[in-house]
Amino acid sequence: MKDELITLRSVSKSFGDKLILDDLNLTIHENEFVTLLGPSGCGKSTTLRIIGGFESPDSGSVFFEGRDITNLPPNKRQLNMVFQNYALFTHMSVAENIAFGLKIGKKPKDYIEDKIRYALRLVNLEGYERRSPSTLSGGQQQRIAIARAIVNEPKVLLLDEPLGALDLKLRQDMQYELIRLKNELGITFIYVTHDQQEALTMSDKIVVMNQGYIQQEGTPEQIYNEPENAFVADFIGDSNLFPAVMVRDRLVAIDDNPFECVDEGFGVNRPVDIVIRPEDVEIVPPARGTVTGVVTDVIFKGVHYEMCIDVKGREWVCHSTVAHAVDEEVGIKVDPFNIQVMKKPESEDEEAAGINE
């Protein structure tokens, strides 16, 4: 296990009477690409700003390499932030922007010039030293903002939805750039986004947040394949999220149709939530299906077709490379391993807190 770098202990924060973070505990290790993922208002940006020192928690502590930095101002912290709207200094040239932190740190002139060249090469903007930030495109400005942060050799780079304002193609290119940068620099990235695709692509670890609580922490594969609760399942990727009844170990009933699964220990005849990814729903001839249904919609999505299948009033979403005609009767089968069973929250508060014991 890598060394612990940042630890948030019992951090709470409210704005007015709106509770943003409630008793949040989070550990970030060295050289990890950690993504805080969640819908807007889930507390992910506030968490980042607390780590950066721009907000102070109402209670709880922030530790950096074991040292309590809760009350340390941002200019004394060994981390740098890349802001959502770039926050470049418009009255300075690109080179002056990049040199800002180094000049404040009173670094020698030669060192600063080397660093500017190095940083511009790293973000593929060599020769842009004298340009004014306002003459650059959004993607270029974002690269300058990243260059300005990394020349200070921070141990951690904080990124607050840095690609939010870019168009899709550029965003995808920048995702690869960021992964490359992280590997070249060998530092920790803490990345905030509401885009689950972005999180799955880039992260070593994803922290899914909702309503001020951490819903689940894990690798992209864990988050995608084994969501711990209905919120995570619903938020990450397309999914068939159904209420069901756990008949007994390894058998779950969806709308009274028994399906074999691999989960145990939920008790007998207990209500649960289950999630089945659309790509895990197999379409078979009606006689071979566990249940049968009628195709209601077919949409071509490029790599696959997305089909909606009506099974006695419940709509199943299914991805397949083979199209089936609307109104065709089909059978549905699911590999037991692909049914993810989750405990049902007993109250709304419990749902928000993502309590899963």
């Binding site: 941002p74 200019n75 932030m81 802001f83 926050a87 200094f89 800002f100 300005r148 942060a149």
Partner: protein
Amino acid sequence: MSKTSKHTAMLGLPYYAWAIVFIIVPLFMVVYYGLTDKTGAFTLANIMAIAHPAHSKALWTSLVLSLESTAVCLLLAYPLCMILARSGKSSNSFLVLFLIVPMWMNFLLRTYAWQSILEKTGIINTFLTALHLPTQHLINTKGGIILGMVYDFLPFMILPIYNALAKIDKNVIHAAHDLGANDLQTFLRIILPLSMPGVISGITMVFIPGMTTFVISSLLGGGKILLIGNVIEQEFTLAYDWNMGSGLSLVLLVFIIINIVIQMLTDKDGEGVM
């Protein structure tokens, strides 16, 4: 030219007519009178008259007093605008309004009000007498004129500076802190340079009316301290020497043009404009 842009250009006609009748023509009349004598013959005497000790002294006094009031306005307005721009959005627009309200009252009235406050038997001195303190000589001093200018022109300094400061993205300031700058470094390297268009706009908007005023100096200077505005006014209204008045106006115009050119050179994007 397309039909629509023709129509758009037509919309400007009332403005062009207004500009010609009330700005261009009077300006040419001033230039004509300034460069001719009473017989209509060309002369530079009216302009050279600025060299007369009484005139150059008045010009110098105007320059000094308006620079001083501009400086006072700047020193008062900048910190105030910093506070306004940092405070919450709902409260600060009310506060700005509060500061602008006096601007809507008649300028003469406000200056008369100061006259009755500063007079020998005015409010301040009455108050001092009641406390058995010696009365103060407040009116008919340079300080009185500066006070009047600052009071009358301060809102013109506040508005552009406030606008410039309020426009600075909070994240830009956060970014400076994030890169290691302390509060002073952030102010000197980020906030101050970014607010400069507003500052320069504010300086222009206080300096020019200060340079040309004659009402404030008449009412609060008691005719004892002559500004160039008073001299020009007297040439027109007392001496009926329109040529001399116009000649001196042209000299004053040069100072104003210099100021505006400086503003335009430092504010290429037109950001400081209210």
